[in-house]
């Protein structure tokens, strides 16, 4: 049953342009913010910068750093996009009444929701791979422009990066998935998701960081995502996406991210099972 629901959701997702526009948007962010702008900044760094600082920035833009550099861009740039994708999958069906068409026939609500969640998880894996491919392409161009030798991370490092990206994306998308079920509205999900990312994760997060209240930051999505990136060798001082710093080690961060996913899914299942569908 879960398999049917997942197959059906993937069938629908393939034809859902907005989702792929968002994936494209995220890829464009990598291209624009993570690489182009950072590279321009590097180029404009004059003699007044310490040589080490410019070199560190360039190093993060080279292929050898692509694995952790992309993971590091995820918390601030990619998270909200994944959240919206999760919300679109779970809330999209309320708008046209299609949920009742489906549920009247496929009445196993738990299977329906788990199948859809599985589809989201699969899409996140695809996004992880696309992110790494785009990052590798961009860093290769930088490397060629700077006439540096082409050195790539090992296959194992790529795999680890894909796994890390996947986990971070799943955590964010799960929050969106739950928000979508609770609000039953894509617009509301996007609104709440963006406000939350901006106010709670960014403003409150940096405030708590400045006050050194790391125990609270430790259970926040952004810092937990950042912790994963730093554990892979990401350097928060290198610029790029690293506006959010870690508050814990990678082990605790993995637990926090999985916690978000499990809790969100539980909330979604509980809410979805109880409510009338009209």
């Amino acid at each position: 049953m879960i398999g049917n629901s997942m197959t059906a959701e993937l069938f629908a997702l393939r034809r859902r342009r907005a989702v792929w526009v968002l994936v494209g948007f995220w890829s464009a962010q990598i291209l624009l913010f993570a690489y182009t702008i950072s590279y321009v900044i590097y180029l404009s760094m004059g003699a007044d910068f310490a040589a080490g600082q410019a070199e560190a920035l360039l190093a993060s833009l080279l292929p050898a750093s692509v694995d952790h550099y992309i993971v590091g861009s995820m918390p601030i740039w990619g998270g909200p996009v994944m959240l919206i994708i999760g919300g679109m999958v779970s809330a999209g069906d309320y708008r046209n009444g299609t949920l009742r068409t489906i549920l009247a026939r496929f009445a196993d609500r738990r299977a329906l929701l788990l199948g859809r969640y599985a589809a989201v998880v699969l899409v996140m894996l695809i996004v992880s791979i696309i992110s790494l491919v785009v990052g590798t392409a961009c860093s290769t161009v930088v490397s060629l422009a700077e006439a540096r030798p082409l050195v790539f991370p090992s296959f194992g490092q790529f795999l680890t990066a894909a796994g890390a990206l996947w986990l971070v994306e799943i955590a964010w998308a799960s929050v969106g998935f739950a928000l979508g079920i609770v609000t039953r509205n894509v617009g509301a999900t996007i609104g709440i998701g963006l406000v939350w990312t901006l106010l709670v994760e960014n403003v409150l997060g940096s405030l708590l960081g400045a006050l050194d209240l790391n125990p609270i930051r430790a259970v926040m999505l952004g810092p937990a995502s950042a912790a994963i990136a730093q554990a892979q060798g990401g350097d928060p001082s290198a610029g790029g996406g690293f506006a959010i710093t870690a508050a814990t080690g990678p082990g605790a961060a993995v637990a926090v991210l999985l916690g978000y996913a499990v809790l969100s899914l539980a909330i979604a299942l509980f809410t979805f099972n109880r409510r009338d569908v009209v």
Partner: protein, 314 residues
């Protein structure tokens, strides 16, 4: 195929947060193979009942079974096709893709999709986006979705809504063919002449309660006796004679004839009385009460469509 009634509910009740009772204490049994009509005025509770039958909303009270399984049971509902409160599909997908999506959920091959589209004569427009469909085409797609996988039971909420005359005839034939193939159909409709023609049994629901149930003939007579139409000369004298008869409820003059409210079985007695009074009877015929007349009769005494306050008071 399991045995027993296709639908059997007892004490089915749905009340909403404000205290309004949409459906109250409903008992209903639809036997397998029947075409069962569900009629009632706007807001009577037809759609609400159907939603409970397919598990979209949960009853506040009462129990029931659909195809021998408890309400909301996924295994049973996989064998129930329904169209409730209008067709709802993804506007950006074609009619065919909408059905293919549904087929994925049900684990059905795409050949079933084409078969369903053929049955509602929508195959030639199946590639168009749902949003570009006309009202009747949307309705046809809704019916096609209900037919997908040839379910044992069909629950159709106003299936002829928006259909053109040919579409209505086709729908009647379709329901006939479903009945012939031993499928069970529960349908709601405001087209009482349609209901009269295609349904074996009828339930009349009013203000959320079942107020009449039976065969079409049962319901027709439940609304009151039929009437007689009489043309006679002289008419005013005939009117006085007929009105004096104890079996007659009322007499009215309509367009040069008398409309006499009485059991049609009294026709001979009325004729005899007129002859004895030396009145020429030019025409005397029984006017059968239609289902529509009976329906208006049964449901009229409760006034207009109930307001929210009246519902809450129930």
């Amino acid at each position: 195929m399991s045995t027993g009634a296709a639908i059997h509910v007892t004490g089915l009740t749905k009340s909403y947060a404000a205290g309004a009772v949409a459906v109250g204490d409903l008992d209903l049994t639809v036997e397998r193979g029947q075409v069962y009509g569900f009629v009632g005025r706007n807001g009577a509770g037809k759609t609400t009942t159907m939603r409970m039958l397919v598990g979209l909303i949960r009853p506040t009270a009462g129990t029931g079974a659909v195809l021998g399984r408890p309400l909301g049971d996924p295994a049973a509902l996989a064998r129930v096709g329904s169209l409730i409160e209008g067709p709802s599909f993804y506007p950006h997908l074609s009619g065919r893709d909408n059905l293919r999506l549904l087929a994925r959920y049900l684990g059905l091959p795409d050949t079933e999709v084409d078969a369903a589209l053929e049955r509602v004569e929508l195959a030639h427009r199946a590639g168009d986006r749902f949003r570009a469909y006309s009202l009747g085409m949307k309705q046809r797609l809704g019916v096609a979705a209900a037919l997908l996988g040839d379910p044992e039971l069909l629950i159709l909420d106003e299936p002829t809504n928006g259909l053109d005359p040919a579409g209505i005839v086709a729908m009647r034939e379709l329901i006939g063919s479903l009945a012939a193939a031993d499928r069970t159909v529960l349908l709601s409709s405001h087209q009482l002449n349609e209901v009269e023609e295609i349904c074996d049994r009828i339930a009349v629901i009013h203000n959320g309660r079942l107020i009449a149930e039976g065969t079409v003939a049962d319901i027709r007579s439940a609304g009151g006796t039929g009437s007689l139409l009489i043309r006679a000369d002289p008419l005013d004298k005939a009117s006085a004679v007929v009105a004096a008869l104890p079996q007659v409820t009322s007499v009215a003059e309509v367009g040069g004839a008398l409309a006499v409210q009485t059991d049609p079985a009294n026709a001979a007695a009325v004729n005899r009385a007129l002859a004895l009074a030396d009145i020429d009877v030019l025409e005397l015929r029984v006017v059968r009460q239609s289902l529509e007349d009976a329906f208006l009769d049964i449901t009229h005494d409760n006034g207009p469509v109930p307001t929210g306050d009246q519902l809450e008071a129930r």
